[in-house]
Point group: D2
Chain length 416, copies 4
Amino acid sequence: MEQRDSEAAPPTLGVGMVGYAFMGAAHSQGWRTAGRVFDLPMRPVLAAIGGRDAAAVRAAAVKHGWAAAETDWRDLVTRDDVQLVDICTPGDSHAEIAVAALEAGKHVLCEKPLANSVAEAETMVAAAELARERGQLAMVGFNYRRVPAIAYARRLIADGRLGTLRHVRFTYLQDWLVDPDFPLTWRLEREHAGSGALGDLGAHIVDLAQYLAGEPLVGVSALSETFVRERPLLAGASAGLSASGGVERGAVTVDDAALFTGRLASGALASFEATRMASGRKNALRLEINGELGSLAFDLERLNELSFHDHTEPAASSGFRRILVTEPEHPYLEAWWPPGHALGYEHTFAHQARDLVEAIATGTDPAPSFADGLQVQRVLAAVEESAEKNAVFTPVPTAPQASAQASAQTSVQAQV
Amino acid sequence: MEQRDSEAAPPTLGVGMVGYAFMGAAHSQGWRTAGRVFDLPMRPVLAAIGGRDAAAVRAAAVKHGWAAAETDWRDLVTRDDVQLVDICTPGDSHAEIAVAALEAGKHVLCEKPLANSVAEAETMVAAAELARERGQLAMVGFNYRRVPAIAYARRLIADGRLGTLRHVRFTYLQDWLVDPDFPLTWRLEREHAGSGALGDLGAHIVDLAQYLAGEPLVGVSALSETFVRERPLLAGASAGLSASGGVERGAVTVDDAALFTGRLASGALASFEATRMASGRKNALRLEINGELGSLAFDLERLNELSFHDHTEPAASSGFRRILVTEPEHPYLEAWWPPGHALGYEHTFAHQARDLVEAIATGTDPAPSFADGLQVQRVLAAVEESAEKNAVFTPVPTAPQASAQASAQTSVQAQV
Amino acid sequence: MEQRDSEAAPPTLGVGMVGYAFMGAAHSQGWRTAGRVFDLPMRPVLAAIGGRDAAAVRAAAVKHGWAAAETDWRDLVTRDDVQLVDICTPGDSHAEIAVAALEAGKHVLCEKPLANSVAEAETMVAAAELARERGQLAMVGFNYRRVPAIAYARRLIADGRLGTLRHVRFTYLQDWLVDPDFPLTWRLEREHAGSGALGDLGAHIVDLAQYLAGEPLVGVSALSETFVRERPLLAGASAGLSASGGVERGAVTVDDAALFTGRLASGALASFEATRMASGRKNALRLEINGELGSLAFDLERLNELSFHDHTEPAASSGFRRILVTEPEHPYLEAWWPPGHALGYEHTFAHQARDLVEAIATGTDPAPSFADGLQVQRVLAAVEESAEKNAVFTPVPTAPQASAQASAQTSVQAQV
Amino acid sequence: MEQRDSEAAPPTLGVGMVGYAFMGAAHSQGWRTAGRVFDLPMRPVLAAIGGRDAAAVRAAAVKHGWAAAETDWRDLVTRDDVQLVDICTPGDSHAEIAVAALEAGKHVLCEKPLANSVAEAETMVAAAELARERGQLAMVGFNYRRVPAIAYARRLIADGRLGTLRHVRFTYLQDWLVDPDFPLTWRLEREHAGSGALGDLGAHIVDLAQYLAGEPLVGVSALSETFVRERPLLAGASAGLSASGGVERGAVTVDDAALFTGRLASGALASFEATRMASGRKNALRLEINGELGSLAFDLERLNELSFHDHTEPAASSGFRRILVTEPEHPYLEAWWPPGHALGYEHTFAHQARDLVEAIATGTDPAPSFADGLQVQRVLAAVEESAEKNAVFTPVPTAPQASAQASAQTSVQAQV
């Protein structure tokens, strides 16, 4: 019996991905899975993967199931079988690749942080706006918005269940830099990573704070610190977040930790801490939001759970309830397993793929947009400025009309 | 640039799967993912899927990525492109399909419980033993052994970290039958499901208890109950664990809950509770094991965590530690994400696929074997016998030589 | 300025307490505190403490603030300044002291378990009934009913918030006998303690199960075990639960652990485990109750918290909520600290004192009564009987008219 | 039989307490209990209680067991039967009473915060230093240092188990001001309370941070906010933290919340949040400390537990362990109940009483001293200054020689 029912098959969406390290593996899993779990209007095809090292990118293509491999991203972004370019490289190349892909007529998904500077991000926003007029979409990969518990938290807040917000409180704690002999990978070099814990972890929690609260940060006050100022130079390749070092040492040029407070547009107080030096905390993206009518709490180390306190209930019977966010009514859960069957980290990439495919199929704007990514970048820049200026409260510029700021004519190459 | 490096490609393993409901979806995800995450010695190919309803099985093939669809499992198990048959049907068809597949020269993976009766299970063990002589392997799908935290717990116990065991304590609590109007699906009919919470949930915790302790249960004392004795007849198809009912009612012929105590071979006391009537508990497979030197605790609703108490430490600084089982040193984790990045329920199926593929490639016996599945079946039978006999302590027969009990000549068809 | 306002002072209630070990210290704290925290209708006066060792009882009187000391409990129970006798001795002397105190016209508070046998307990109930006609009250000290979270749980169940009960699940796990060299104290000798973990810990959870459910156990099936059959003979005095042993060993004549299942009158299934061999569990009296409309969970190691799941809420926003039972609306909390300020173990004795004083002042029957204590004793006896009879389901006799069973003429002395 | 063994009785210590509201009740319980639980070298006698309202103070004396009542604190601090003055009044009267008591030759225990201003606190320190030369002691009541889990945390840090500290993270969250109609009590008026959440809650966490880390804060950056700027004027008396309001409204003159970051002397980063607007958080004094060798976490809502991560263990078996701080080896626990029997909030006052009595008996300096209280005051002042100056990083003055700053000749009366 033959099985392919071509008359019913949805149109395909060719994906070309640049980068094949940790994020490349995670995105591959997302693209591979989304269409098998969700009923998508277009079927993602893993068309081509790009990377500079020919042998490595070929091995990655085989391993992750990409049909072709390219060693020059410029070739990848212009392939005919690619309609969407997925950028999984370090931040210093985001702007150049994204602008080129958009100019080549492709949709773009770009890993976070959007860029290593506000200027780059502005250029990207400008390119995305131009491309939007041609029907192309651009999204930034703040994948934690796609944790079902986070998406459900947003729904509760949008529905008014928390009332006026008073406090948002975010930490993102990891511990892989506690060991002073962990070597100097690209994530510890300003030229590649832009910043340290701030851009890597802080970008996530800034985005989530603004997303969940539904309003921007208007200013911040910050301290930052590099506890271990020299580390062994890298010996050989690094994989994931692990690596091994040699005898010589080099300077760490990014922050180990960033600590900042702020105010949201509504007047709520916000606090943030991003660090890779919190021994025992592996991936503790934790948040608490307190409103006049209720509160929420979440910890990424228990990503299937959301804590919700309903302050409108009688005091005697109220308390933080642990919602297992695995019911069919919860975001993204309609397609997964029965209640109580846990999802994991990489599901966020399948959810991201689903949302982007649906946006492309329907021509609607995906979120978070490049403009959202730019807004996060502005916050990060204000954090760095405040940290340099004795923690003084530093305003975050109101989002200007990006097109007015960064003309599409600007040469991206000149900036990166 | 061309990418397929055929000289390096591992041999393929054609998989044929029977059944395409909840378990079928989960197994598909496992087969699809295992080879993309782990470096497997053979590459699983989703060759064919089988089911009785032609349209439904075709749709399932498209959705889950199987190359072909079959409406008669007998055709599927004899396909040339199938080397491994994966059985995901209700328990009443396990024996017939498994024996046929083994006789057709295929390896077999069979969902739990192995069968609906000890006699069927014995027949399957006998067939597996014969097939083993021909180099075929057979495994039963107690997937929770592949939760990394469970596998790591087994390692700690095997390493002697708990010392002599005193207590094992298991519950498996769900709540999808609390509503008396939940309809009469096949899982509530003895002829299809064999038993209720006992076989569905109890089988898992009996297997885990014996696996973790490394020793069998020698006897049990049991109570069981059907709280809701009539339910609406099913109206239309059911999906996952959800379904909708009509106006007429029929008799529930299986248990809603089973409660039993027992003794392990070493003398440790054991307690078990399986129920689908525990409101608020969605998938609470929880275990505690207390030994003279330490204790463990686990809850499937937090499947990335294992609690471990080391009783050899000074009392003042000891306590149950929450191990996030996401380190590269943990079972199965070498291939996944950095520490702290959670895995989910369906990862167990990828791990199961990995272990079985490796066993096939190396010709080693996989675990849990059909004999392990039979041993679980004997415990379940003793539980039912005890429950019928006023809870009297009922011995579990010591595993006999299966070949002596159930001749391979026995016609399986006659029994099912 | 003089301060005593004698015209407003409430009448006093002279308390005489027998025993001055762990329970004696805890009860002293209760009597000392109750009148300082609650507005009591009678003021408890610590009139006299009794014990056999003259020096030790004198020291206890000074330490705990008792006005007088007696070395013969017969002298204590007949003192004119004593209106209430509080019995804190091992179980083998409860019946004799209680009956004598009741015959001497005193109110009686007796530590749990009420007695070491059903026969003794029946005699005590009979004596209490006779005394009740003379206006005397008798209460058994199941102090955990006075944990605010437990009392609040009872209120929720009584209010119907859980609906029809399906499951009650109790464990009481400690670990002070894990060390095989812990010596042979009186708690390990049948003649003094009656039983082991069963009477010590099991009595509490049987009482709580029946109290919370509001219905009796109608039968049980039990296993019990003595894992360590010989222990060092006691060298010197023991304090609290700690002691030190010598070189010689003697036989442990009680159970280390008791495991039993049962049925409540309504048909709900019950499970119980009492052990002092669960390494890492210090005082884990844990309970879960599942009803058709909701569920509760509690752990004495976190005694200020109650978990409540309301199954009538929408599935998407429901979950176990952690109620911090420190609100003024909660039982006993009106007199304590602001919300969130934790209470501890010994508060239960102050609450018990309050309730008993109020009962005495108003002439109402206190709970748990001696009849409640007898009912627990009957369950414990059925557990022992079942454990001896291969775990067969053993009915718990329905509470008979105690006066018909145990005539008050029966000489208590002859039995103890 | 007579019981008082006067030859063995320890000397007495007459206590005079000023104030009888929430803190007065808690301190009474501490004084009443300490000598009954611990073997103290001096026996505290509740000699006299002071308050302005004659009827209320008399009632408090009767209720809490004080032998005499005084309506003028000046009379109380000069009583011959008082050797120790315990100050439980609002902060605006601390300095005057403490200095008078010290000048009257009494030991002093003063509730936190030490004073409402740095100047007052300096005067108190100067008076305490003079008095110290006469053998008098002075202590400030940061009672949370006496939570056993906190004291044990300090021991672990002092023993080097955490190594070099990187982060300290404190919140103190309550919710009793969430309701905008909660009335304007003295705690919301700057003239009485000095500040709002900052002095009430922030003082505790600043003290704990410095105590646990064993080093001072060298500077802070702060935001603060008054979310509800007007509240109903108080109608009638308030009790504990509850009160009821009338129709007219008045201005709230203190902060609802204070959020600040800082640096410890060693370079560790610190964050603090004090608020009474976090719905659902009742008494959430939570702390986390991350060091190079280990980490700690604690939550006052679970005050018997300390979480400890030992980073020197193998990654696979490490994790935060939940230490139940109820072992006899733990601070203060030698005198309480067996392991696993929880303590509560007010035990901290008994522990404080024990430590102060022992210091007095042995003539050693108690901690926290008035100088420690002054140091906290300096941090609070720097927080307020930073909050007024756009969050700019504001140094905390290094503790000067208090005697050089605030001459004892300074008239305290003139300042308060």
